[in-house]
Amino acid sequence: MDEVLKAAVFFWLPFALVPFGVWVAQIKSAKITDKLGYLVAVVGGILVLASPWTVPESPSSAVGQLIGFIVGPVILILFGLFNIAYSGNVPVGRLSTRDRYFGLLSFILGIIWLSLMHWWELTPVVDGGEINPYWLVFLPNLLLSLTCLAMAGGLAMIAFGDSRTNESKYLFSASALSFTFIICAMNFDSPKLEAISFREYVWLSIADLIGILIGAVLAILSFALVIFIYEKSIPSPESIDAPNAEELAHVSEVITQNIGGDE
């Protein structure tokens, strides 16, 4: 099979199936689409993860390899945060204190695992011993966006919350830690990547985030414009007559049946 066709069939088609499956699962008009959609998304996800074996010669399969490498620490981190959040003051489904400590352990393990992927020999490498090029996109983007979002999140807690100064310190600490990671990686070599190369990727990552912001804003503007133009083209609904006595009596009956409670 032609290499391009092989990459399309074994990588890009399964990749497209993931959002397509999720989209199909959201259609409410038919019940069967719900399960079918999620099934399609899961099958697509598995095929993407298998792409380093199914299409090893395609450069795009490095994305599948990257997802395979990061899925472990990311699940640990998110699972940890879920456990910590739901073992606190929640009205229903509260988890035990043991779950909180387990969550904290998962979160810390996930962070350490992700850090060692830069500072130790766990860095994802493709055939030939080179670092996975998409890892060099992922890590700076993750660290930069975490620094910014955690900082903004902490400030938002103080700005919009009620006496949330103490809670916001956790987010400021996360922002500071992520910032320190970036500055250290920009100044100290890791076993597989020189600091000067990491500096380049951080600068490119800033360019990336600016580009994504511009593209997303333009897409949202065109979306809003389409809806605005379409809504403007719809004729305004015709006025109807005021309810008559019979209709008012029916409404009163329905309201009477639905207010109040058991005595």
Partner: protein, 160 residues
């Protein structure tokens, strides 16, 4: 009552941008410029990223337009309009990449650059989503694990 001045929404926006500016300033002050690396490398990345993000976000919004159409007794007009927006994005990308090496970031052909752009932007969006989820998770964890703000005594008194 606690009488403290709260930061405004503008400060939150500045907080979103401040770390990036600080990292750039600190790196430039500590290490100076990067050899053989400058605006010629950064500009194509911004342009490619903006074009690809426009296509991907428009495609996502096109999917949402279907649900909007469903709520409006399935009128196809907005779906077609959004489809045109996606097509404009794709054609603009092909046009700009075809203008020579301006937007080709070390890739040999338009197709290779297009595929690289999509993969690159998807990875960036995954990174953004993970950091967003971690931030949200930390925020909720901090809130739920702090002492409750509801005064139980007053609450009980109000109920009576």
């Amino acid at each position: 009552m606690e009488n403290q001045t709260k930061p405004s929404a503008k400060v939150v926006l500045v907080g979103l941008l401040f770390p990036v500016i600080f990292i750039v300033a600190l790196d430039y002050s500590l290490n100076g410029s990067i050899p053989n690396f400058g605006i010629e490398e950064l500009n194509p990345r911004i342009a490619n990223s903006a074009l690809t993000a426009f296509i991907l976000f428009s495609t996502f919004l096109l999917g949402n337009m279907f649900f909007y159409g469903e709520s409006r007794n399935r009128p196809l007009a907005p779906i077609f309009s959004m489809g045109i927006a996606v097509m404009v994005g794709i054609l603009a990308t092909i046009f700009f990449i075809n203008q020579g090496p301006m937007l080709l970031e070390g890739n040999g052909s338009v197709r290779a650059q297009l595929v690289y752009n999509i993969a690159h932007t998807i990875v960036s969006i995954i990174a953004l989503s993970v950091s967003g989820l971690v931030t949200l998770g930390m925020m909720f964890s901090a809130i739920t694990n702090s002492p409750s703000k509801i005064d139980n005594f007053n609450f009980a008194a109000e109920e009576e």
